[in-house]
Structures are given as C-alpha cells and as structure tokens.
Symmetry: C2
C-alpha cells in the first residue's frame, strides 16, 4: 500500500484554527478517490482479521472513515456525538479542552455487554476525545479492541492516553 | 431490494428535539449491517449509471451515506459543513431556520466549473439545508445532477424547494 500517496493528498493549512497550529486538512484526500479508497483498504487490511463486533465513529470526520470500514468489514456501526444530538437514552463522558471541558455521547443501546469495539476517527492529537469515547465503551460494558486513525500527530503523544489499548494510524506527522 | 427492511430499521423517537416532532433515528439502521449495506446498494443502483463527477455530503449524517457511496461509485467526495469548520477558502450559503438563519460552507476548490454534482444527506425535511448546499454548487459553477436522501418527510414538501433538480429518496415517511 502506498502511504506516501495518502500523505501527499492531505493538505497542511498553517495557523488554523489559530496561530501556530498546522491543521491537517483531509478534504483534499476525500477529493482524491484513489487515495481515499486506499486509506479504507489499509484499515481493512489491518482489521480484517480482528474480531470486531462494532465500529464506533467519532463525530464528524470519524464518520467518513468509520462508515465505509464498517460496511467493508460487515460490522454494525455506531456514532459518538456531541451532547444533545442523539435522540434516545445516552451515556456521556467528559474530556478536557484547553479551556474548560466538553463531552461526547453514545446511545446506551448501541453497545452490548462484551462487544469488541473498534473506535475510529480521522486524527489523534492529544487523544482526549478518543479517550472519552473509550470511556463510553467501558461504561456500556463493551471491550475496547483498539483505536484507528488516519493521522497521528505523533509529537503530541495522544496514544499514551489510550494505553494499554492498541492504537493504529496510517500516517504519522 | 427490500425497502421495508430499511424502513423497519429506522427508529421513531417522539418529541425530539422538541414536543410534537417525530424524530427519525437512523442510528438503529447503522447498527443493522444488512439494512445499512442495502441502503448503499440502493443508492448505487440508482446512481451507478449517472454521470457524476463529485458527491457532496452534508454535515454530519450525510457523511455516513455519502462517503461509502462515493467510494463505491469511484467519485471524489466533498463535505459541506457548518460555518468555521473548513480550514481553506470557502463559499457560503444561508438558509432559514424556524427562528433566524444558519449557513453552510464548502471549500471553494472542492468543486470545479462544470462538475456534475450529486448532493446527499440522510433526511430531507423542509429542504432548506439541501437547497443552500445546492447554492454552494451553483456558486462554484458546478451543475447539480440531483439530490439523494435516505428519508423524505414527504408531507413537509421539501423536494419542492429543490426543483427542477431530481430528488431521490429511499424511504418516504
């Protein structure tokens, strides 16, 4: 698999959303059918032999990778969303922002006890959101199989927060 | 194709987000791999022979159907998002809410002049958001091939707003 093709299809936007941040823009990858398709192929190759009962995509760019992966692997797909968006009974977990906290929710009936769950998002930075989604899985008595990301901002060491669970990323920046 | 299976997999939540609204919850469909997969098959069957240069998914549930469809049809995929989320130069269009207005954006370079564009979302209610995304396509000098939805709330007549463009929905409620 050609990871350089994928890496080259991701655009760097300096100073977004604020000065000093190098934003990794995946919209250029999505416009490149071959590169987008290959990213899903790589996830399939990585997780095709894992025993996974459920894939959870994190709002909203996690949906873009999680939905195709769940369809390809023949798994149910669940969505972790920002507060107030999900209509049925939810469980909730908080995570820290630079200033204050935010939270993420999932439907209580999306995860069954003992479900082996893969959590997916486009990017891991400090890992706070992914860690909170991991908490949702644990609160619902699911088992975290691992975390999958297109991009890992390695110097922020977000994957340390997700230990001891396996963390897979296609691209390191 | 079995549309009843898809319809039955959608959960009705009364009085969400406010009294009197019957919310159509697609999260139960996503958990049902066969039904979710079949919904993508139906979109592919409908649009597989259309000449489409780009699929635009509307944030955020439109991503769940648009990304797999774009991958299956071999099309580039673009995302229409709420204001301030996209990092590069955008075009913007407003739509009316019950009280006030909101807007939606797309990257200016996502759509090339003359691109034949299919716009997709999970649900059409009054059609305001989809209409605004149509405006984005027109502002970028793309051509709207049509609109695709999983669910059409037919009594709200949202598809009237999208005329004369073709509107396809898998399920009418």
């Amino acid at each position: 698999m050609n990871r350089d093709k994928i890496k080259n299809a991701i655009r760097n936007i300096p100073d977004f959303p604020k000065p000093g941040i190098q934003f990794k823009d995946i919209t250029t990858l999505l416009l490149d059918h071959d590169a987008f398709s290959e990213s899903i192929d790589i996830f399939c190759e990585e997780f095709g032999n894992s025993e996974i009962d459920l894939i959870v995509g994190i709002e909203s760019r996690g949906f873009i990778f999680g939905a195709p992966l769940a369809l390809r692997l023949g798994c149910p797909f669940a969505i972790a969303r920002k507060p107030g968006k999900l209509p049925a009974e939810t469980v909730s977990a908080e995570y820290e922002l630079e200033y204050g906290t935010d939270s993420v929710e999932i439907h209580k009936d999306a995860i069954k006890e003992g479900d082996r769950v893969l959590i997916i998002d486009d990017l891991i930075a400090t890992g706070g959101t992914a860690q909170a989604v991991g908490e949702l899985v644990t609160k619902c008595q699911g088992d975290i199989t691992g975390f999958a990301f297109l991009i890992n901002l390695a110097e922020l060491k977000g994957s340390d927060k997700l230990k001891p669970h396996p963390v897979f990323a296609i691209i390191d920046f």
